[in-house]
Amino acid sequence: MSRIGPTFTALKAQNRKALIPFITAGDPGKGLTVPLMHALVEAGADIIELGVPFSDPMADGPVIQRASERALANKVGLKDVLAMTAEFRRTNTTTPVVLMGYANPVERMGYETFAEAAKAAGVDGVLTVDIPPEESAGVSDVFKAHGLDPIFLLSPTTPESRVEQVAAAAGGFIYYVSLKGVTGSANLDTEEVAQKLAMVRKHCSLPVGVGFGIRDAATAEAVARIADAVVVGSRIVNEIETAPEGECAIRVRHLVADLRRGVDAASK
């Protein structure tokens, strides 16, 4: 069974919100991902989102695109990401891991083969950005049959009539992308997001995470006030990109600890 549901239940019992940092597997180096995952947990991550590198990340902005390119240059593919998750699981059996990526690497491996391998490696949820619920019939079922939560996106352009359909296909949590545009875009209107979340919650009982545009403790706090989870991607990947060699983990640890303080401030 996936660790995602119990994680949200436990957080709720403590009146806390989840912090979900994102890193791209294999960035900046193949051997650095597992230590980074542990660093994320130590700094306060509740769930880890691990990006699967893809040659054509259409929905990502330049920061995550470059991370994907660095990871591919390090020859990191889907099989390596699964191996990294398995290695992480040797010492961490509690923090949920969600793989985030594009359809083609999974399609190439085969959905059934992938689901089996992912479960065995200790993956809890899978977000394939370019598989909307309309194309997920079969895919979601395969994931669910293997105890993997299929994570789906909702966006500001999603009409109310579609929310129910997305929620029905989803497991674990719903990922609301709070801005139009690719990952790493600026500006976040929390009031608008709050209104949209109220509508989403009418149709969906799953926890709702909000991502896109969260850069620091203040924005993390603002989002934690309205969402069940705060997802941070480009800001962390940017820190990895700009950190001097050898300082990557420590920089990321500082940043995530700061985001954690922001998220917890919302519960006070």
């Binding site: 259409m58 902005g61 399609e107 352009t157 139009k180």
Partner: protein
């Protein structure tokens, strides 16, 4: 179900096609699907599209009997569908007019496009000027360098050309960037997709707008020759000129449909752009189709002398027609295409696009295997003025 009834209501051609995009674009694609459905059933829309094709593009384009080329190639008679004579010099304008009329109908004032060889970029910039819309064209940095005349044309027409330096710096990266723009500006912007690929409804609507090519041929061939051709040959990158001429011919059982992919340095070398010939099915750019990919599902770099064919995917209907056995797909390498380019220049006084030269090159192979009273119809999808720098460079000449 008949082959001509596809796609289904969600854009599937058998296992191919579909809508594989991030959530942010779902509503926009749905809006486009609904609006296109209304437009195609609106006599006023259809009439305006036809008026523009006739008076602005100069349609119908002629079919021309290439007698000297046929004699030279020694076999079947070769006829050329002269899409190179269209306004802007290629078949691309058929589609951009259709999509610009849709954009106007939907109240979008800004259009974006991706381009490889620059023909679709020019055709998009042209219709944007024609209908008074802002136009941004994304083009791989490598293509910007090798297709400079078309870059200047787009600028003359008032478009902004954005060079894309990510990935392989070619058409697929331009497409990624155009998609990113669309995700960001989805409410104000209409994405004029250049080929019969991408998420539904694009493969269908681009095909529908391009089918004017095949429909004209079906009327023109009997007038000229008393019958339909034995084979129809067209180059395939994304596959819009090919599907435009193939689709109306699907019910004609006696007509072979042959798509010609870019063989680059030869299919065996791995340096090519021939997914139907040597690729495997996968998901890219919003649809499922044959792709050039490695064993990890990463898209691999393509190689072709022709920028317009330099693309790792192919329109989903072609994948379907291949599996169904209704169309055949072959590859022609750079050298063969260049030889055919020179043949058409010297024997017929027509400078063809390097893309279209691939189709001519396959006719060169096919003709000697056929009788002199048989007919090959080649879709000459574009003219080659844009390629003279490339050809000069290959010939060691500085212009």
């Amino acid at each position: 179900m008949k082959l001509t009834d596809l796609p289904d209501s969600r854009g599937h051609f058998g296992p191919y096609g579909g809508i594989f995009v991030a959530e942010t674009l779902m509503a926009a694609l749905d809006e486009l699907r609904v609006e296109y459905e209304k437009a195609r059933n609106d006599p006023a829309f259809v009439a305006e599209f036809e008026y523009e094709l006739k008076h602005y593009v100069g349609r119908p384009s002629p079919v021309y009997h290439a007698k000297r080329l046929s004699e030279q190639y020694g076999g079947a008679q070769i006829y050329l569908k002269r899409e190179d004579l269209n306004h802007t010099g290629a078949h691309k304008i058929n589609n951009t007019i259709g999509q610009a009329l849709l954009a106007r109908r939907m109240g979008k004032k800004r259009v974006i496009a991706e381009t490889g060889a620059g023909q679709h970029g020019v055709a998009s910039a042209t219709v944007a000027a024609r209908y008074g819309m802002e136009c941004v064209v994304y083009m791989g940095a490598e293509d910007v360098a090798r297709q400079s005349p078309n870059v200047f044309r787009m600028k003359l027409l008032g478009a902004t050309v954005v060079p894309v330096s990510s990935g392989s710096k070619t058409l697929k990266d331009a497409l990624n960037e155009a998609m990113r723009d669309w995700v960001t500006n989805v409410e104000s912007t209409f994405y004029i997709l250049g080929t019969a690929a991408g998420p539904h409804p694009y493969p269908m609507l681009v095909r529908d707008f391009q089918c004017v090519i095949g429909r004209e041929c079906i009327a023109q061939m009997p007038e000229l020759t008393g019958r339909q051709p034995d084979a129809v040959v067209a180059c395939v990158g994304g596959g819009s000129n090919a599907i435009g001429i193939f689709h109306p011919y699907i019910p004609f059982d006696g007509v072979r449909l042959i798509g010609v992919e870019a063989g680059g340095s030869g299919v065996a070398s791995g340096k090519h752009a021939a997914p139907l010939t040597a690729g495997t099915p996968g998901v890219l750019h919003g649809f499922r189709s044959y792709l050039m990919q490695d064993e990890n599902g990463q898209i691999i770099e393509t190689h072709s002398v022709s920028a317009g064919l330099d693309y790792p995917g192919v329109g989903p209907e072609h994948s379907y027609l291949k599996d169904a056995g209704r169309a055949e797909y072959v590859a022609i390498d750079d050298d063969e295409a260049l030889a055919a380019f020179h043949d058409l220049c010297r024997f017929e006084g027509i400078i063809p696009a390097l893309e279209s030269s691939h189709a001519v090159a396959h006719a060169k192979k096919l003709a000697p295997t056929m009788r002199k009273d048989q007919i090959i119809l080649v879709n000459l999808s574009g003219r080659g003025d844009k390629d003279i720098n490339t050809v000069a460079k290959i010939s060691g000449i500085t212009l």
